[in-house]
Symmetry: C2
Subunit: 132 residues, 2 copies
């Protein structure tokens, strides 16, 4: 757990550029407890570390799963509470995983319907028959 002396610190604009999240969103994430406490400069400006960027990347993956912000905040709380919450964290991720799997199934089904419909239209464009 040693720490480099030349640790890079990023301003909020730099983090915005790197993550694609707006400054508004980054501040909001901190406000609602979705970020571990972010370091500040002597004048009170945020200075993000690479660790913060890693966390944001992970949060981005959780967001991509469709997990609600409330659940992501819950997860962040559990991380802050320490090692004894590992079981609950895993449960949260496992539940999310089940939801993602069923979402993928649902999307795949819908995709098949879309394919079918598009094929119909492809025929219609030539034959001129009516359709829903």
């Amino acid at each position: 757990m040693s720490q480099s002396l030349t640790q890079t610190r990023y301003t909020i604009s730099e983090v915005e550029a790197r993550t694609g999240l707006t400054q508004h969103t980054l501040r909001w994430y901190e406000r609602i407890g979705l970020m571990p406490h972010v370091d500040r400069s002597h004048s009170g400006q945020r200075r993000f570390t690479d660790k913060d960027l890693d966390w944001l990347a992970f949060v981005g993956k959780l967001r991509a799963t469709g997990m609600s912000v409330a659940d992501m905040v819950r997860y962040a709380e559990l991380v802050r509470e320490g090692a004894h919450t590992v079981g609950e964290r895993r449960e949260l991720l496992e539940r999310t995983r089940r939801e993602v799997r069923s979402r993928i199934t649902e999307l795949t089904d819908a995709l098949a319907v879309l394919d079918y419909k598009i094929d119909m239209y492809a025929m219609k464009t030539v034959s001129g028959k009516a359709q829903q």
Copy 2:
């Protein structure tokens, strides 16, 4: 295009039971133009047909793709406008299909991260090491 004389007509409660959509949502769909005009009884109550149920099932698939309500309404308008809108309808569905495909990719990626993280926790539960 022949029509049965014993055509089944459903009340809004029956449609609610069959589709899982609430009565509120069904009325709202009609209000915003997402339904073709629904038949009424002599006293003004809605009487849905099997064709309406088919349409709702299709709309359900579109919703499952993540298509916005605005786009679904646009699609419904195009259907009402007739056969000459077939090209635009197909474009709309093709755009949706591209979005669904990339959403599936995104979910699959996120799923891999989830799997990885859950595996880590599985180890942690035994070894007791700290983690994000």
